[in-house]
């Protein structure tokens, strides 16, 4: 049968069109299914939490049981501090490991690193909390912001390492050669050309890791522990939004429930703001392609 005959044959065309419709609608359905939970969570959290939001919520400490009002100021600051400590641990280690795996991928060690980060990304976060408990809390003798931040940092490493590696691998080899051929050393080439070209993607990976760390509860339960007051220093237990939300949500008091919703709303909002700020600050003048 020649091509012309096939086209003339109506049934082929109809069958092809139906197949196309079916597959396309499946794609639409999947796309909607992917977006609906996010939108639903966002609106539900806003609806539940917004009413409990007021100035007190951002400026005051939690009120004692039975008293009305109070806020989560210490938990908001605590989460920012914990995520900062986590970033200080996770970003350098993650990015440098990603560079190693991508740029020096011939060595056996880099294959080991790749395998181990994959395994690490599958380790439940509570196990990482136990690890931080064993490594930092027990030797120090008490719960602390350092221990919580450390646990979050470990959680961030695999995400950052893998995205850094993937993004660096997308940088065309010819750019590396162009830089080397100008008499630029390999490490300067890596920093000034390869990292810079891949920066947008790497930052996306870092933001994902930060967002995930900001929302983690389990690894903080026995590292940062939680605190109903301001922490004097980073080697003391510290409050955090997820733990505070958890504590309030399982309590029997109605106004605590409302505050937990408000906390959830603030947590989403903080992650959103951090995303926006980092994007603005690291914006590249020229987008590649």
């Amino acid at each position: 049968m020649t091509a012309e005959e096939i086209y003339k044959n109506e049934s082929y065309l109809v069958r092809r069109k139906i197949k196309n419709r079916v597959m396309l609608s499946l794609c639409y359905l999947a796309a909607i299914l992917a977006v609906v939970p996010l939108i639903y969570i966002f609106f539900y959290t806003t609806a539940q939490g917004f009413s409990a939001l007021n100035v007190d919520f951002f400026t005051k400490l939690p009120a004692p049981v039975g008293e009305e009002g109070g806020g989560m100021a210490n938990a908001i600051v605590g989460t920012l501090l914990l995520v900062s400590i986590g970033s200080a641990v996770g970003i350098p280690v993650g990015v440098l490991a990603g560079i190693y795996v991508s740029e020096y991928s011939n060595s056996i060690l880099s294959n080991i690193v790749k395998f181990v980060t994959d395994v690490l990304s599958g380790v439940p976060s509570i196990i990482i909390g136990i690890f931080a408990y064993g490594v930092i809390v027990i030797p120090m003798g008490n719960f602390s912001a350092y221990a919580g931040g450390f646990a979050l940092g470990i959680l961030m490493i695999p995400t950052i390492t893998r995205t850094t590696e993937e993004m660096l691998k997308l940088v065309p080899h010819t750019l590396r050669e162009a830089s080397l051929a100008l008499g630029v050393s390999r490490w300067k080439t890596t920093i000034r050309v390869v990292l810079k070209t891949a920066s947008a993607g790497i930052i996306t990976g870092i933001l994902l890791a930060i967002a995930r760390a900001a929302g983690e509860t389990a690894p903080l339960l026995f590292t940062a522990f939680g605190n109903r007051f301001w922490s004097d220093s980073l080697d003391q237990p510290i409050a955090s939004l997820p733990v505070q939300i958890f504590t309030y949500a399982i309590s029997p008091y109605k106004d605590w429930h409302e505050q937990a919703w408000a906390g959830a709303f603030v947590l989403i909002f903080v992650v959103f703001i951090v995303n926006l700020l980092v994007r603005l600050v690291t914006r590249n003048k020229f987008r590649p392609n």
Partner: protein, 271 residues
């Protein structure tokens, strides 16, 4: 011959003779490059005079690019590659150079124009300088203008130096890459099929540029385009299956070659 191999590098250099060294920009002795144990070029001996344009021609896979890339040690990045024999660049064995110094002396222009996509036209020209050191602004301004003028690109881009390098056309990008290469003051420029991705007008411009650069630089150009080799080069080397078959004056290679194989290739019987 075994005695020669046992000698140190320095003694071999002396053996070649001081006069030869100063006359030639590039000398290779028994240069062999292998990938995973299989030689891509075998025992290449050639001398490339200073201030000349040398074209390297031959069918695909004959080792033209391999030879070119050996001259500024680009094989370093290729896993399982091995370079044996001797390469003497500007009178000094390649192994005696600091790698970054060697590549500043021996610039390279690639087949596909590869400006840095996150940088402006201005920054691209001086990238080789600013990646290594800090310079005064007016020195850089002058440098950018001079290099772009030399690359024949100044009049086209002088009003948009801060635009992205990716906003240029393919031919302009390739000339930008040439400007970037000459900004680090090389003495030798290696070109790996610099016009194979360009339209005829852009090709013409790059060829004119090569002609103009000849007085200041030694140029080695790999090309698939036989007419181009005939137009721009003084000498031509014909590679076939990893061997250097013939190497002499361009006119002789194209009109009256010594080897039957060369004649068949340049007249289009194969390749």
């Amino acid at each position: 011959m075994t005695e020669v191999q046992e000698n140190t590098i320095n003694e071999e250099v002396i053996e070649i003779g001081q006069k030869e060294l100063s006359k030639n920009a590039i000398i290779t002795n028994n240069l062999t490059v292998s990938f995973s144990g299989r030689p891509a070029i075998k025992n290449i001996n050639c001398k490339i005079k200073r201030g000349t344009v040398t074209a390297i021609i031959g069918p695909s896979g004959c080792g033209k690019s391999t030879f070119l890339r050996a001259l500024n040690y680009m094989h370093e990045l290729t896993p399982k590659s091995e370079v044996t024999g001797e390469i003497i660049i500007l009178g000094k064995d390649i192994r005696q150079y600091e790698m970054t110094d060697l590549r500043k002396k021996v610039g390279m222009v690639f087949q596909k124009a590869n400006p840095f996509p996150t940088m402006s036209i201005y920054d691209n020209v001086i990238s080789g300088l600013i990646f290594n050191k800090r310079y005064k602004r007016n020195y850089l301004d002058e440098k950018v203008q001079k290099c772009l003028e030399q690359a024949g690109l100044w009049s086209e881009v002088k009003n948009r130096l801060n635009d992205s390098a990716m906003s240029l056309s393919g031919g302009q990008q390739q000339r930008l890459c040439i400007a970037r290469t000459i900004a680090v003051n090389p003495e030798i420029i290696l070109m790996d099929e610099p016009t194979s991705a360009l339209d005829p007008m852009s090709t013409l411009k790059v060829e004119e540029l090569i002609y103009n650069l000849k007085s200041n630089y030694t140029i080695v150009i790999v090309t698939h385009n036989m007419q181009q080799a005939a137009r721009v080069s003084d000498n031509t080397a014909f590679f076939f299956l990893g061997d250097l078959i013939e190497y002499s004056k361009t006119q002789k290679v194209f009109t009256n070659p010594d080897e039957k194989l060369t004649e068949e290739y340049v007249t289009g019987k194969f390749g």
